[in-house]
Symmetry: C2
Subunit: 139 residues, 2 copies
């Protein structure tokens, strides 16, 4: 049994779940807040997330419940085990009186991957700051 | 012989070469405008640039002429040849009456790597926007 760690980032968002769902699942919107991609909303679809500086993540859609749950793998292959990452990202949306509670879990960090774990926390905070911007703009 | 393409981004910067050189070569400053890193200013030093989302570049310092030229490899290994990148980044600093002319060349993109090539152009523009911010702050 391998112990793993999970990054959890939560946000209360002033928009309904349906609107947030579009930002999480439409490729041109995903590109604006996360990365360039060939995402499709279909379980089993394999896709890449591509950073502007040449880095690439290997992903596969694992779970889709419209307006509620989206989960995909988020893998990065590297010879150095400190950087080699096999993780799963799960977004859970819950309607609230003022909009949506968004919970993001990224699981699969090994205990020795402290840098990657800390980096992911910082990264999601930045991604969600951009997500907020495009949600506000789309009103 | 393999034809390759080069991304060139140039900026006129309102600070002297010595100050720009520090931002290009001190790890805590590199982290602020580019990525987390274990850079050292020594030809032959191998280091990584690490994105917050788990991606990692493999680099090696190739050329150092203080306040004038810095060059390092910028490699990304991936099974898909569209993403596998072996490139070299070279910064050239030239003193001007108002500060420094910075020229960045990233060479090594194959003709079939159009996405990576376009992405690199966008990426450097973003990196240099952050570089401008930290140079202004350090006054």
């Amino acid at each position: 049994m391998t112990e793993t760690r999970t990054v959890v980032v939560e946000r209360d968002i002033a928009h309904p779940p349906e609107k947030l769902w579009r930002a999480l699942t439409q490729p041109h919107l995903i590109e604006e807040w996360l990365m360039k991609n060939d995402f499709k909303l279909a379980v089993g679809h394999r896709f890449n997330l591509r950073g502007d500086w040449g880095g690439v993540l290997d992903c596969e859609v694992l779970e889709v419940e419209p307006n509620e749950t989206l989960s995909y793998s988020w893998n990065f292959k590297h010879d150095d085990p400190a950087y080699n990452l096999e993780s799963v990202v799960t977004f859970t949306l819950t309607a609230t009186p003022t909009g949506t509670h968004l919970r993001m879990e990224q699981s699969g960090f090994r205990p020795d991957q402290k840098q990657a774990f800390g980096g992911a926390h910082a990264g999601w905070n930045q991604f969600f700051a951009k997500l907020d911007e495009i949600l506000a703009r789309e009103d």
